[in-house]
């Protein structure tokens, strides 16, 4: 009984938010239609078909890698007991704190010709033994896999623990070995969760154009960046953005198809947790070693490397003077993160409130559309926003008003808005998950007592959602700190954040200089992971978080938990 009659204020809020999120997407579509066929041929000239092929190959490899690794580790830590399991099961979420462009930077440096790995190789095997090529698509896919698999890992763990526990036990009593029961019962039951996790992996892979460039892999998103920043060819970039958008929609459709009709859940009763089987002897140590190896590659080695780099070039610029640019970039990152978090938290609360006081279907749909911003790849959102800004500048010019020029070259305000659109889903899910634990009759009671909706917001919804809002703020701020593609495309001239700084230093192969900014990002990004998952003994917290998310968006629920 959550249907409530309409209210004008909620209509205004939801419509505005939806417009801000959807306008860039619409701008891309309109841009492509306006441009006609010319840019297609220009793009074709530089070869969009190979770009698409590379993108698909990268997607395929990363998807398979992240799904196998994520589901495999989830199964290992759920179904078996081995030395270190309790710590490992939450530590395995940590790789999410090392953004792909940092992990890629570390490994491309370590694996480069002068790097320690190749030096050691030559020392042991002789000067002339060729080292396998590093700047390749499979290596890029491996790096992406190592940082993105936690999406699958988290959702798979929940699915294994909750949905598959009882059927799994039944299958075992019917004579199936653990492995056969896993293949025949657990995997099919976890399919929707795996699909949702894989979708997030795919969307992140699609958005990335920094990491893959270290490895010389030219995807569509790389194409967008090069065409836009290198040749200032707006129509061509728009066409490429459309291709990325179409791919994202295809992925979304694919995920829906994999989940078709399958809302497997142990309805109505508390699931019996699956008692993990104790591994002994060599098998136990092999399990521990496998988890540790993943952590070594994805977290320990990069963090140690960054530490070494930071200490060998402590806060010193190229000429040996104190590195002011680092401090400036850190300040920019912090301010940007804080602003984005503030905007997201306020809008998210307003949206949650609107759904609660106004139960019309169109409000729910509007909020869904707004929250769907997470599915629009960063580069597409950025290009769309630039098109909108350009149109606005043109309009200002025509009206004879000043300020148009500043809009086109990008502004921090525009950056904040686009970031907010991108991360709104994250903030919304956290806030809504908190309020979902509060019975809807509370809202009804408040309204029936003769109190205006605005006072219901300030006196009931805001205080009750406070903890969810805090979590949302932290998660969004950290994500804004890590974000790279959008800021690279949209930043005003000379505006640097920590992530931009890492990227530029990496592009100049000044790896050691990149150490400190990169380390800063990683350490800050670890905070929410530790806070959210360390006490997740058997996932009680993750479980409840995912559970309370409305069934319409299981995929966004993960965004809220995983980052």
């Amino acid at each position: 009984m959550r249907t409530r009659p309409g209210r004008r204020a909620s209509t205004v809020v939801v419509t505005t938010a939806a417009l801000v999120v959807l306008l860039p997407v619409a701008a891309v579509l309109v841009g492509v239609l306006q441009a006609g066929t010319a840019p297609w041929s220009r793009v074709a000239g530089s070869g969009w078909v190979p770009l698409l092929g590379t993108t698909l190959a990268l997607l395929a490899l990363t998807l398979v890698g992240a799904t196998v690794l994520g589901a495999g580790l989830a199964w290992l830590t759920t179904a078996y007991r081995f030395p270190g399991r309790r710590a490992l099961q939450w530590l395995l979420v940590l790789p999410t704190a090392v953004p792909a462009y940092i992990l890629g930077l570390v490994w491309s440096s370590l694996l480069s010709y002068p790097g320690p790995v190749q030096t050691g190789w030559r020392a042991v095997l002789g000067e002339d033994t060729p080292f396998p090529p590093v700047r390749t698509l499979p290596v890029a896919a491996a790096v992406l896999t190592l940082t993105l698999y936690p999406y699958v890992y988290l959702l798979a763990r929940v699915a294994f623990r909750e949905q598959a526990a009882t059927p799994y036990c039944a299958a075992r009593t019917l004579g199936l070995t653990p492995l056969r029961a896993a293949r025949r019962i657990v995997l099919p039951l976890a399919r929707p969760a795996l699909a949702a996790g894989a979708l997030l992996v795919a969307l992140e892979t699609l958005s990335d154009f920094a990491t893959v460039q270290y490895f010389g892999v030219d995807t569509l998103s790389v194409g967008i960046y090069k065409v836009w920043r290198g040749q200032f060819d707006r129509p061509a970039a728009t066409v490429l953005a459309l291709l990325v958008l179409l791919l994202a929609m295809a992925l979304l459709g694919g995920e829906r198809w994999l989940r078709r009709g399958a809302r497997f859940s142990s309805a109505g009763h508390d699931p019996t947790p699956m008692g993990p089987v104790r591994l002994t002897g060599r098998a136990a140590w092999a399990a521990t070693a496998a988890c540790t190896l993943v952590l070594l590659l994805a977290v320990v080695v990069p963090v140690v490397t960054l530490l070494v780099w930071s200490t060998t070039s402590p806060l010193r610029g190229v000429d040996g003077s104190f590195d002011q640019t680092f401090l400036a970039a850190a300040a920019n990152s912090m301010l940007l993160g804080a602003q984005v978090a503030a905007v997201v938290v306020v809008v998210a609360l307003l949206l949650v409130h609107a759904v609660r006081v106004d139960g019309r279907r169109r409000i729910a749909l509007g909020v869904q559309a707004t929250v769907s911003g997470y599915a629009v790849p960063g580069p597409v959102l950025a290009i769309g926003a630039l098109l909108v800004l350009a149109a606005a500048a043109e309009l200002l010019d025509r009206l004879g008003l000043p300020g148009g020029g500043g809009l086109v070259t990008g502004s921090v305000a525009a950056l904040v808005v686009v970031y907010a659109a991108r991360f709104l889903a994250l903030g919304y899910t956290s806030t809504e998950a908190r309020l979902a634990t509060v019975s809807p009759s509370l809202t009804s009671a408040a309204l029936s007592l003769g109190v205006s909706p605005r006072r219901v917001l300030t006196r009931v919804h805001l205080p009750l959602a406070r903890s969810g809002i805090a979590v949302a703020g932290v998660l969004v701020a950290v994500d804004a700190l890590k974000e790279l593609p959008i800021v690279l495309l949209l930043r005003p001239f000379g505006f640097e954040t920590l992530s931009v700084r890492v990227w530029q230093l990496a592009a100049d192969s000044r790896y050691e200089m990149a150490g400190l900014p990169a380390l800063t990002i990683v350490v800050v990004a670890m905070i929410p992971v530790v806070l959210l998952f360390r006490n997740d003994d058997d996932g009680a917290e993750v479980t409840s978080d995912v559970d309370v998310v409305p069934p319409m968006e299981p995929d966004t629920s993960l965004v809220g938990v995983a980052r």
Binding site: M1, T3, R4, P5, G6, R7, V438, S439, S441, L442, S444, A445, A446, L447, S448, L449, G450, V451, S452, P453, R459, V460, P463, L464
Partner: protein, 343 residues
């Protein structure tokens, strides 16, 4: 003057009509109990009254003012309708006093009104507690005090005591009704428990598939239900074939006064407390089985025709299964007959 008036109110959810062309009037200080199986639309009706749902058709008036109708819509916060929810819905972050004062208009002497309200629900001195420090019954009474604070003309109870265990329920209900009557406000009380409906209502409205099956005073609803559905919903009922002629009906257990007046084949409704029996060697009926219910036994008695009637007997009446008995029906009022169902 009526406090609440519903006229031809309908509300659909997709294809199902949750409330279908319903009309009802609630008088000043009157308590109407809405009873029906789950999904019959009784809670929807309540939400429509509170303004938490919009009707598709019909007019709703509260205190003589139209609050929902064609081109009229008054949001819940302007309706002066109090609601007490099943889960109490107290604000968990506010103390009892702040919960109760939540809807108090500014300017009123809050402290005095607060004390008055807590007194009314028999919880004086608990203002500083948080909701989680109260028992379930206390929470419900705080919810009532909170709903009464803005002096509503009508208070709606949505399965308000459904979460309380049965021993507590009756006493909380009594306290609630006392408090409500003290204020003179009318009430609409939704429940799926027939005993509760009969106990609290000045009138009982039996609801089925979005429509009213029967609206009447409790005794009439119980003894002369409008339909077989109402008959079985409001209490145990057995049906015995008979042949009616005017105000009399002939059955296997004898000739009985009947209502309504009719002629022909009918089914007679008999409730277990109206059926008595005595052990008798010449009795033509037989004890089929019995169920112990603490204060009494429910005996199942098979008649010569094969029909089965149930009979409530005190726990002192101890008759073995299989005994031969003679039946005696004494309703104390004309029995309700229904036209024979064609099967």
């Amino acid at each position: 003057m009526s406090v609440v008036e519903l006229l031809g109110v309908s509300r659909r959810f997709g294809r199902t009509a949750a409330v279908d062309d319903v009309s009802l009037t609630v008088g000043e200080g009157e308590m109407v109990a809405l009873v029906g199986p789950s999904g019959c639309g009784k809670s929807t009706l309540l939400m429509l009254l509170a303004g938490l749902l919009e009707p598709d058709a019909g007019t709703i008036s509260v205190g003589g003012r139209v609050v929902a109708g064609p081109r009229t819509w008054v949001p819940p916060e302007q309706r002066h309708v109090g609601v007490v929810f099943q889960d109490a819905a107290l604000f968990p972050h506010l103390r009892v006093a702040d919960n109760v004062a939540f809807g108090l208009p500014r300017g009123e002497n809050r402290a005095r009104r607060l004390a008055e309200l807590l007194e009314l629900v028999e919880l004086p001195g608990l203002g500083a507690r948080f909701p989680h420090e109260l028992s379930g019954g206390q929470q419900q009474r705080v919810a009532l005090a909170r709903a009464l604070a803005p002096r509503p003309q009508v208070v709606l109870f949505d399965e308000a005591f459904g979460n309380l265990d049965s021993t507590l329920r009756a006493s909380v209900r009594e306290a609630t009704l006392r408090a409500l009557h003290g204020t003179g406000a009318a009430g609409v009380f939704v429940t799926h428990d027939q005993a509760e409906a009969l106990a609290v209502g000045d009138r009982v409205a039996v609801m089925r598939e979005g429509r009213f099956d029967h609206v009447a005073e409790p005794a009439e609803a119980f003894h002369a239900p409008a339909t077989r559905f109402s008959a079985t919903l409001l209490g145990d009922a057995d049906f015995l074939p008979g042949r009616q002629d005017g105000a009399l009906v002939d059955t296997e257990v004898g000739r009985l006064a009947a209502t309504p007046s009719a002629a022909g084949e009918v089914d007679v409704m008999l409730r277990p407390h109206e059926v008595g029996f005595a052990v008798s060697a010449t009795g033509t009926s037989r004890v089929l089985g019995r169920e112990f219910r603490g204060a009494h036994y429910v005996y199942s008695l098979q008649l010569p025709s094969g029909a089965v009637l149930r009979s409530f007997q005190p726990h002192t009446v101890d008759v073995a299964v299989g005994s031969s008995v003679a039946l005696a029906v004494d309703a104390g009022h004309p029995v309700r007959t229904f036209p024979r169902r064609q099967t």
